[in-house]
């Protein structure tokens, strides 16, 4: 395990911790420029940043008067469903970011746009499973759509609290290819920075919308692309984001449309966690 000091392009020296796992069969190691998170590439405008942050702070204060999370208490307590992401206008696209295996030298492409009706998110592109020729990468061919972290005032990180709910509900329209949906959960140790809770979405294809309902108990823990042995249920009280990956090892174009992503309470679902653990063999 190596600790490295990394300097970013600005004057500030940031400590970048990268844990290289001692797994000789690693799938892909990509060198990443550690971006300085404090300041962007633009010129730093202190007063403008301050006023923006004060506005956010005011909004947060007003929301607290209304109720938890800015929602009136009776709705907050009684609601059985909640729509987290809708795609009504261009601003909603800004909450999402797309990445492909071009980071590791692959040739897949992907992009997002609003669908034909202007009410959906269209995630499309093409996968190319040919790995980069750097001797280290063995598998390639993926593209990911991930929600951006929500920031509060003064860079405070905001989390979603999904604890009353137990089912993830997406209305999607795929083209028959399977995808993986993952949830990024807030962690305490930076060791767990690459931890994701994953599950599969199998699309039917065709012109009809598909309702995908995945109980949160079905999500399994993975880190850096590897399923972990020590599994545990996801903690829903501090969720940072959600993402969808296309990587079914088939080269070719794909198209995936999302109408909305929401969470719901399924009263018939009582499972806490779907994967049983076994003790170590003696």
């Amino acid at each position: 395990m190596l600790l490295r000091f990394v300097t970013c392009s600005c004057r500030h020296a940031c400590l970048g911790v990268s844990w290289m796992r001692s797994s000789p069969w690693r799938t892909a190691i990509h060198t990443q420029k550690v971006a300085c998170r404090t300041f962007s590439n633009r010129t730093f405008r202190p007063m403008k940043a301050l006023s923006a942050n004060m506005a956010l702070l005011k909004e947060e204060a007003m929301d607290k008067l209304l109720g938890p999370d800015g929602i009136p208490l009776d709705i907050y307590l009684l609601r059985q469903t909640n729509v987290i992401w809708k795609f009504d206008d261009e601003n909603s696209l800004k909450k999402w970011e797309v990445s492909t295996d071009k980071e590791i030298g692959g040739k897949s492409e992907a992009s997002i746009s609003l669908g034909k009706s202007g009410r959906t998110l269209l995630f499309q592109g093409s996968l190319n499973t040919e790995p980069a020729r750097d001797g280290k990468v063995r598998y390639s061919g993926y593209s990911t759509l991930r929600s951006k972290r929500v920031k509060g005032s003064f860079g405070k990180s905001k989390h979603y609290d999904w604890s009353p709910f137990n089912v993830l509900h997406l209305r999607v329209r795929g083209d028959g290819r399977p995808l993986m949906v993952f949830i990024i959960v807030e962690n305490f140790f930076s060791l767990h920075d690459d931890d994701l809770y994953n599950y599969f979405i199998y699309t039917r294809g065709g012109p009809y919308w598909q309702d995908v309902k995945i109980p949160f108990s079905k999500f399994f823990l993975s880190s850096r692309g590897r399923i972990q042995d020590a599994q545990s249920a996801m903690w829903l009280d501090k969720v940072n984001g959600l993402g969808i990956t296309m990587g079914d090892q088939v080269s070719g174009p794909f198209k995936f449309e999302i109408d909305f992503i929401g969470i719901a309470i399924d009263p018939a679902h009582s499972e806490h966690f779907a994967y049983e653990l076994y003790g170590k063999a003696k």
């Binding site: 009776d74 083209d175 065709g206 012109p207 070719g252």
Partner: protein, 542 residues
């Protein structure tokens, strides 16, 4: 430490001896053998020399004029790769038996199995070339290359310190390739691994992981695709259409016309088909559709059945405005109990399980079809066939909205959508279907389809081999094999001329969800429909 020298000391002479022993090898040795047997391969300079001499730089097209060229030049990562390639280029070609022969001869020629790790890695690289990715016995044979009981730790210190780490890594690589290709290990796998590495090794742990997670997700797919896909194009089209129809009552119909028979050879006639699907609900909705509003034929859209894309076309209508959908319930509807209560109370939020999102405004879908290489004329043929069950179609105007991009490329590379074309009875369709068929060579295609059973090119030789084409060119080559964006599921049927099928203009063969027609899957017709024929027979009114 010790294992390093153990491998290096004995690698070269063993390797050269091994090469000589493989039967189908030619006499010349690869240039690798220029390094003297006594030299230590792991010295820096020698390594550089070896690299310079033996390896070619990737991606340069002038080096790779032909496959045979590259093979003889010895462009390989190791000696063992070459051995496999030599075996594969023999008279029997790349089959399981030639592969097994190489493995067996390695095992036989040295009881200590010197160089086995490198050999196994080379074999793993060559497995895709031989088309044995999903064969469990091949992986077992590779695991059996490990000498038995040598690597089993005998005391607690050995158990602590990752005994024979390189070998364990190699076995893990074998298991990982099995996992990647979806091959399920069995008891025999475990037995072999236990004999080789003992009970508590990393490969056994990985085996346990595979056998824990694989069964959990085996039936996770609510829309499973049969593995392997059926070869009959009709079955595959039916499969695709039933999948996307989302209705258990939908029925697949095959439209064909005897007068469309195309003479391929003297003794063969091909009668092309269109496979369509419609459910009773769709039929009912179509019958209630406003006759003055146009219908649209959209396409081709793509649906994937595991790794095979299939083009389909949709017949749909305009968006229905929202207020029309809410119909007040007639109070004189139910004879026994009221269907609506006259109360001013709404549902409580705690019992409201619906999402407060408006429906995406989209037109209703009335029917879908798979028509292979379809142009407007072909689809018009489909519409005519639909008219039998939906007489109201004869009065409706149909607008064809066909997208013009390369079917196998993603849509984002094309800026524009296809133009809308309204069909007039005397207007020639803009796409000339004959032209599209010109670059096709039918025999080559038939061979590819029937041989491997999977509709994938075999030219991908794995990552050790430098591909001749970049990804883009590979796709182009693929497009060549399936000309003009047709999937091999262009539905045709070979018919002897004495027995013309369907003497009537449009004979419809209704096919249920699970029937498998026994027509041959030879797909050898370049263009489905003669344009002139079509235009005369079209009866779609505006």
């Amino acid at each position: 430490m010790g294992s390093f020298q153990w491998i290096s000391r004995s690698l070269i002479p063993r390797a050269s001896a091994f090469l000589a022993s493989v039967p189908s090898l030619s006499g010349s040795f690869p240039r690798l053998v220029h390094i003297t047997p006594t030299a230590n391969l792991w010295q820096k300079d020698d390594v550089k020399k070896a690299v310079a001499m033996t390896h070619k730089l990737p991606g340069k097209r002038e080096d790779a004029k032909s496959k045979e060229d590259s093979e003889d030049n010895g462009a390989a990562l190791s000696v063992y790769d070459m051995a496999f390639r030599r075996a594969g280029s023999g008279p029997r070609g790349r089959t399981k038996s030639t592969f097994s022969q190489v493995v067996d001869s390695f095992c036989e020629q040295d009881i200590r199995r010197h160089g086995h790790v490198e050999f196994i890695y080379a074999a793993l690289r060559c497995i895709p070339m031989f088309g044995l990715k999903r064969d469990l016995s091949v992986y077992h044979s590779l695991l059996k290359v490990f000498p038995k009981e040598v690597f089993v730790p005998v005391n607690f210190i050995q158990r602590m310190f990752n005994h024979y780490a390189r070998q364990q890594e190699c076995a893990l690589a074998v298991l990982e390739q099995m996992e990647h290709n979806g091959v399920w290990p069995t008891r025999e796998t475990k037995d072999i691994l236990v004999q080789v590495f003992g009970n508590k090794c990393h490969p056994i742990k990985k085996l346990h992981r595979i056998l824990y997670w694989f069964p959990k997700f085996r039936h996770a797919n609510p829309f499973p695709v049969p593995d392997p896909l059926p070869t009959d194009p009709l079955a595959v089209s039916s499969l695709a259409l039933n999948r996307i129809a989302n209705d258990l009552d939908a029925r697949v119909t095959i439209y064909q016309s005897g007068s469309d028979a195309i003479d391929v050879n003297e003794d063969k006639q091909v009668v092309p088909h269109i496979v369509g699907i419609q459910s009773p609900d769709q039929r009912e909705e179509l019958s209630r559709h406003d006759v003055n509003k146009p219908l649209y034929v959209d396409g081709p859209e793509r649906v994937w059945l595991r790794d095979t894309p299939i083009a389909y076309y949709i017949l749909r209508g305009d968006v229905i405005p929202a207020d029309r959908k809410n119909e007040h319930v007639d109070p004189e509807r139910s004879l026994y109990y009221p269907l609506e209560l006259d109360l001013d109370l709404e549902r409580d939020l705690g019992d409201d399980l619906s999402f407060h999102v408006e429906d995406v405004p989209e037109g209703p879908v009335f029917a879908m079809c798979v028509a292979g290489d379809a142009d407007q004329a072909t689809l018009a043929r489909w519409i005519t066939g639909l008219q039998e069950d939906n007489p109201v179609l004869t009065q409706m105007p149909i607008i064809f909205r066909m997208t013009e991009h390369d079917f196998l490329e993603s849509e984002q590379s094309d800026g524009e959508m296809g133009q809308e074309q309204q069909l007039a009875s005397d207007q020639e369709p803009e796409h000339d279907s004959k032209q599209r068929g010109s670059t096709y060579s039918g025999e080559a295609r038939a061979k590819t389809c029937s041989e491997s059973g999977e509709y994938q090119l075999d030219s991908q030789d794995g990552y050790a081999e430098f591909d001749k084409f970049s990804g883009r060119e590979w796709r182009r080559e693929r497009a060549k094999v399936w000309p003009n964006h047709t999937s091999p599921f262009m539905v045709t049927r070979v018919v002897p001329p004495e027995d013309p099928i369907c003497p009537t203009l449009l004979a419809r063969v209704a096919c249920s969800t699970s029937s498998n027609r026994d027509c041959s899957s030879s797909t050898s017709s370049p263009s489905l429909f003669d344009v002139q024929h079509q235009v005369e027979e079209l009866k779609i009114a505006l």
